[in-house]
């Protein structure tokens, strides 16, 4: 008891739900058991969007975390707010071998060769389908690298052959997915190479690529095989629940759900790459997920504890465990050899698709994620446009409004923060 009290508490904020959360708790437990100096206390802080401002606004108070997880697209903002001790600092001091960590993931969270934060949970957006259902209905499964029309075909068939009992397809009203349509179509969302070469001053949402994607959805809606679950985590829950209950055939979502999907149904899970526009090659999608940060408002020993924990969760074993438990890609090069993953792949070959997708992507600035502040606004605007389009609004108009709104936001953000 007194031993526990004498440990330095390391508060860890995260945004993981379901099995991810369980696994994080498990990591904390194991880590705490592995040493006697620190006590990591994981705390769930809601979804990615909510956490960003919490982190910013508790910074400097006793309520702030020592180590926290923050989503990919918040990196720019957190970096500018200067609230974290750069990971590079610890890496250099400890001569930590950063090369064992996936370079693609690392690249997302570094600036000028400096590691700002530690990539931790990295996902790929993929397309899921109920393979058993397709078999039952006698529908040919879509190819691994499907085009929009491949999916439309399957979706229509599901709806028709189940006499409407099973909905063919859903695409969540989700800005992240919207971004991926652009990435996959090799379109930049923001200028300056999606912000990689400078602070963006101009953005576009109304592009041939997004219009094509929306037309694709619209086509499905008109065919009656599409179901709209709305936006937000509620929508995500509903689509997954429906999928697991056999009421939905296909949906697009983060790879982070794989383990739940596997565990939730006896049906065989089918996975494909992110669908691409017909007649255009896929450019590949960006990684998703989040990274770990160490707050700079905590005493040295606390920061040290945080760093120890970061190192712990980045081990090959932990990362393998992590992928198996969730569906995020194990980032440690050695993880793939771990028995737990080997076993998973054997049982569910489709579980390998996300890593395959990532491995087959040729990185360029359009598929490396947006480095820009105000991505949350962008996502809201995109989601609104999607909702409008799903409910019948003219695609061009909806997208134009969103684009205009986003440009306004970007302008005022830049003005407010004196970015030139």
């Amino acid at each position: 008891r007194s031993e526990a009290a004498s440990r330095t508490p390391v508060v860890f904020w995260h945004e993981m739900t379901g099995p991810g959360q369980e696994q994080l708790k498990q990591f904390a437990k194991e880590f705490n058991a592995s040493q006697t100096k620190y006590r990591v206390e994981p705390q769930f802080e809601g979804n990615y969007n909510e956490a960003v401002q919490k982190i910013l606004h508790t910074h400097g108070t006793s309520a702030s975390p020592a180590v926290f997880q923050s989503m990919d697209v918040s990196t720019s903002q957190l970096y500018h707010a200067k609230i974290g001790t750069p990971m590079q600092h610890f890496i250099d001091r400890d001569h930590y071998d950063i090369n064992q960590t996936s370079p693609v993931a690392r690249a997302f969270y570094s600036q000028n060769g400096n590691q700002i934060s530690m990539p931790f949970n990295t996902s790929q957006p993929v397309l899921y389908y109920n393979a058993s259902l397709l078999k039952r209905l006698g529908i040919k499964a879509p190819p691994v690298d499907p085009s929009y029309s491949d999916i439309t075909r399957v979706a229509k068939a599901i709806s028709a052959k189940s006499h409407g009992k099973v909905k063919g397809l859903t695409v969540e009203e989700y800005g992240w997915l919207f971004e991926q349509f652009m990435a996959n179509g090799n379109e930049h969302l923001a200028n300056h190479e999606d912000g990689r070469t400078g602070i963006p001053t101009k953005v576009q949402l109304n592009t041939p690529g997004t219009q094509a994607a929306m037309k694709w959805v619209r086509e499905n809606i008109q065919a009656g095989d599409f179901i709209d679950y709305g936006a937000g985590s509620q929508a995500e829950s509903n689509e997954i629940a429906a999928f697991l209950a056999g009421k939905l055939g296909i949906f697009i979502q983060s790879s982070a759900y794989i383990s739940q999907l596997l565990a939730g149904t006896k049906d065989e899970l089918g996975i494909t790459y992110y669908p691409h526009q017909d007649g255009k090659p896929r450019n590949g999608v960006a990684v998703g997920g989040a990274s770990l940060w160490i707050s700079n408002d905590k005493p040295k020993d606390v920061q040290q504890g945080a760093w120890e924990f970061v190192k712990y969760v980045m081990t090959a074993k932990a990362q393998a465990q992590w992928q198996a438990a969730t569906g995020y890609l194990a980032l440690n090069k050695d993880s793939q050899k771990q028995p737990i993953l080997q076993k998973l792949y054997k049982q569910h070959p489709s579980a390998q698709i996300p890593s395959q997708q990532l491995a087959t992507i040729k990185a360029n600035t359009a598929n490396s994620g947006v480095f820009m502040e105000g991505v949350i606004q962008e996502r809201n605007l995109a989601q609104t446009a999607m909702a409008q389009i799903y409910n019948g609004k003219d695609i061009n108009k909806a997208l134009a409004i969103a684009e205009k709104g986003l440009n306004r936001t970007v302008a005022s953000t830049n003005q407010a923060n004196h970015y030139k």
Partner: protein, 316 residues
Amino acid sequence: MLESLPQNSNLQDPDVQSALVQITTSARWRKDSLYVTLFLGPSLLLLSVFVFWPMIKTLYLSLFLTDNLGHASVFVGLSNYVNLFKDPAYLSSLGATLLYVIAVSVLTIVLGMLLAVAAQQHLQGIRFFRTIFSSTMGISVSVAAIFWLFAFNPSVGVFAQISQVLHLPEINWLADPHFALLAVIITTVWMNLGFTFLILFGALQQLPSSLFEAAKIAGVNKTTQFFKISLPLISPTLFFVLVVTLIDAFKSFGLIDLMTVGGPNNATNLLVYRVYQDAFLNGNYGLASTESVILTVIIAIITLLQFKLLGKRVNY
């Protein structure tokens, strides 16, 4: 004047008291002001810190662009306001809010009154019904949201199931912009009902029975009794309920966050939710402050209107 008092005067003694009649006049004022400080002071202090000051601060922030950390950085005058009123999404939020507020208030009060009147009947076991009617009072935002989310669920919800059985067109309650607000309204009204019922019922119960006896004797029928005696007599309560429901409706946040997160297509993006989104998701404090000020002004205008239009007609 107080110096002329005998030093150890016993103020309880009536004789001494009357001897003091004149002197105490000013002493009483002093005593009263002591009471004023005691009775009013704490509330005034708290309100100053948590209501007045923030209002001023909000007003101030609304004239600025705010940086990453929420600090006022660039003075822009009224351009935040101008931009908002040019933003069709904001205007539709405004419309949705008004619709929501009016629908919620009217439905809550009418249904609450219906329940209250029904619960006035003297029947065996009426207490059981009263308890039932007030029960939604114990149901909080998140619980209500959970119950209704389930009911509205497009694949397994009761509504979906009912329409499937009856072969009615399936309504995707929460994802369809035409129905999402209605779904939230239904949930809000349901949640409000218990409390409204209880207040109206309580007020009806407290009415002096002699007046109803007089009315009964005069041959006044129940409907007239209700409209001509009960309503005027509980008009202060009714007014109170109206003000509360209206203000509370304007402040609705939880159900939105839990059920629709403002969507679909901003159909349920009520004003407070927008404030929250802009401030605590988008980190745009200047804009959020502007929205706060507008929200405040709207509530103030409506409350003042209520006081002006109804306050006078309320019988105290």
